[in-house]
C-alpha cells in the first residue's frame, strides 16, 4: 500500500491505496463519479481530469504519480452553484446528449480556455482530439467551447462571475 495526498478541487484528501490504483479509480472511490471510465487505455478521454492544470487521462496516471499534486474534476467546475461558462454553453447548445463523454470534454476544454479563451475552432478541435463523443457529434460541442471562451475573454479570463 502507498499513501497518497492529493488536493482535489481545492480540498486536501489522503488515501492508502494499492500501487496499481489509477487516479481515475481513486477519484471514483472517493465518490467523485463525474469522471468516467470509457476505455481504460487512454483513447476515449472520458476520464480526463486536470493534474496541476494539465489535462490527463485518469486511467493512465497512477495514484502514486499524483501524490502531492492538485487535481481538478468536473465536480469542481461550478462554484457555489454558479455554473462555469462552459457548463452554461454546453447546456445552451445541447452539447451533452447521453452526457457520458461530457465531464472529460469539459475538462479538456477548461485546460484550453484557461490558457487561451480566444482559441479558434481549429485550436479547439486539436484540444479535444483526445475526447471521443458518440451521440452528440462534435459541432455543438465545439460551438459551445467557442462561446464559453468568448464569454471568458469578455470577463478577462475569469470563469465564474
Amino acid at each position: 500500500m502507498i499513501e497518497v495526498n492529493i488536493t482535489v478541487n481545492g480540498e486536501a484528501r489522503t488515501a492508502e491505496v494499492p500501487p496499481e490504483t489509477t487516479l481515475l479509480t481513486l477519484l471514483r472511490d472517493w465518490g467523485l463519479t463525474g469522471t468516467k471510465l470509457g476505455c481504460d487505455e487512454g483513447d476515449c478521454g472520458a476520464c480526463t481530469v486536470l493534474l496541476d492544470g494539465m489535462s490527463v487521462n485518469g486511467c493512465l496516471v497512477l495514484a502514486g504519480r499524483a501524490n502531492g499534486c492538485s487535481v481538478s474534476t468536473v465536480e469542481g467546475l461550478s462554484v457555489d452553484g454558479r455554473l462555469h461558462p462552459l457548463q452554461e454553453a454546453f447546456e445552451q447548445h445541447a452539447s451533452l446528449q447521453c452526457g457520458f463523454c461530457g465531464p472529460g470534454i469539459l475538462m479538456s476544454a477548461k485546460e484550453l480556455l484557461d490558457a487561451n479563451p480566444s482559441a479558434s475552432k481549429s485550436e479547439i478541435r486539436i484540444a479535444l482530439s483526445g475526447n471521443l463523443c458518440r451521440c452528440t457529434g462534435y459541432v455543438k460541442i465545439i460551438d459551445a467551447v467557442a462561446e464559453a471562451g468568448a464569454k471568458m475573454a469578455a470577463h478577462g479570463g475569469q470563469s465564474n462571475g
Binding site: I2, P18, P19, E20, T22, D40, E41, G42, D43, G45, T48, L51, M54, S55, V56, N57, C59, L60, V61, L62, G64, R65, S108, E111, R125, I126, A127, S129, G130, N131
Partner: protein
C-alpha cells in the same frame, strides 16, 4: 490491473540500482502512458515500477556547448512549447504534435516514446535525421550511443532491463538544419503512424547541391531506419522534384512494411514514396528559403 510494487527514485544512480536489484522484473516509468497499457494487455508483467518522473537530471531542454540537450523526461507538450526547440529543431515539435492527443502529450515523454521502441513511434525520425546521440545510464556508468544504434527491434532497445535513458542530444552542427517531418495516420488526431518520415539536408550555397541528406523512416521495418541509399542519391543529384521522387522510390525499396488491418504493405510502399518526396521537398524549401520555408 495486476498488482505491482511502486517506488519513486530521486536520482539516476538510485533508479539504476533499484532496477539492477530487481532485474528483470522492475521497469522504469515516467509518463506511464505506454507502460500501463502494456501491463493491462499482459505484454509486460513487472513486479515493480520505478517512477523516475521526479529525477531532476532527466528533465530540461537546454543549449550546451555540444548542442541541444533534451532530458528524457521532456514531455511532448514541453517539446511543442519550447522556444529552444522552435528555434533549433522545429520539426521535432511537429512530430510531437502528432503523438496521441493533448492528454497523452501532457504526460508522455519523448524519452519514453523512444524507449517504447514500437516501430511506428513518432519521436525517432526527426532525431535520427539530425544524427542525435543518446546518453544511457547503467551499472557501468554513462555511455553515449547514436540514436540509430539504439533500437534493436520491435519493443527492444540496447537498454535492456536495468539501464535508463538520460537524455538526447542534437549535435551543434545540426542545429537549424533544414528538417521536415511527415506522417500519415488513419485519422488526424490520436492515430498511430502508418508511415512517418523525417528528412533533413543542407544546401551548399556555392553549388546548390544538397549535402548530408538524411531520411529516417518509421513504421516501415521492425525499427526506425535510415534510407541510406536514398540519402546518398539526393546528395549525388541535382535537387528537385525529380530527384526527390526517385529518392522516394529508392527509400521504398529499403523498407519492409507490414500487411495488417490498418493498411496493406503495397499501400504503405506508396505512402513511403509520397511522404519521402514531400519531406525532402519541404526540407529543401526550408534550406533555400523557398515559399514553404519557415
Amino acid at each position: 490491473m495486476q498488482p505491482f510494487d511502486y517506488v519513486a527514485a530521486d536520482s539516476v544512480e538510485k533508479a539504476v540500482k533499484i532496477l539492477i536489484d530487481n532485474s528483470p522484473s522492475a521497469r522504469p516509468v515516467a509518463g506511464a502512458t505506454d507502460v500501463l497499457n502494456d501491463i493491462r494487455r499482459g505484454l509486460v508483467e513487472p513486479r515493480m515500477l520505478v517512477d523516475i518522473s521526479g529525477i531532476a537530471e532527466l528533465q530540461g531542454i537546454e543549449i550546451t556547448d555540444r548542442g541541444l540537450r533534451i532530458g528524457s523526461l521532456a514531455t511532448h507538450t514541453e517539446i511543442i512549447k519550447s522556444p529552444l526547440i522552435k528555434e533549433h529543431a522545429p520539426a521535432l515539435a511537429d512530430a510531437s504534435l502528432t503523438v496521441g492527443a493533448v492528454q497523452t502529450r501532457n504526460m508522455g515523454t519523448l524519452g519514453g516514446n523512444l524507449v517504447s521502441a514500437v516501430p511506428s513511434l513518432d519521436g525517432a525520425p526527426v532525431l535520427m535525421a539530425l544524427d542525435a546521440l543518446v546518453t544511457i545510464a547503467g551499472s557501468a556508468g554513462r555511455e553515449e550511443v547514436a540514436l540509430r544504434d539504439f533500437f534493436l527491434g520491435p519493443r527492444q532497445t540496447v537498454l535492456g532491463t536495468d539501464r535508463i535513458l538520460v537524455d538526447m542530444l542534437i549535435p551543434k552542427a545540426n542545429l537549424g538544419k533544414a528538417t521536415s517531418f511527415a506522417k500519415f495516420g488513419l485519422r488526424k488526431g490520436q492515430a498511430l503512424a502508418l508511415i512517418n518520415v523525417a528528412a533533413s539536408l543542407h544546401v551548399d550555397a556555392a553549388t546548390g547541391r544538397a549535402a548530408q541528406t538524411r531520411i529516417a523512416l518509421g513504421a516501415v521495418a521492425p525499427k526506425p531506419i535510415h534510407a541510406s541509399e536514398a540519402e546518398a542519391f539526393v546528395d549525388a543529384n541535382a535537387p528537385g522534384e525529380e530527384t526527390f521522387s526517385e529518392a522516394g522510390r529508392i527509400a521504398a525499396t529499403q523498407a519492409s512494411p507490414i500487411d495488417d488491418f490498418r493498411a496493406s504493405a503495397a499501400y504503405r510502399i506508396e505512402l513511403i514514396q509520397v511522404l519521402t518526396r514531400r519531406a525532402l521537398s519541404e526540407a529543401y524549401s526550408q534550406a533555400t528559403g523557398g515559399p514553404e520555408g519557415r
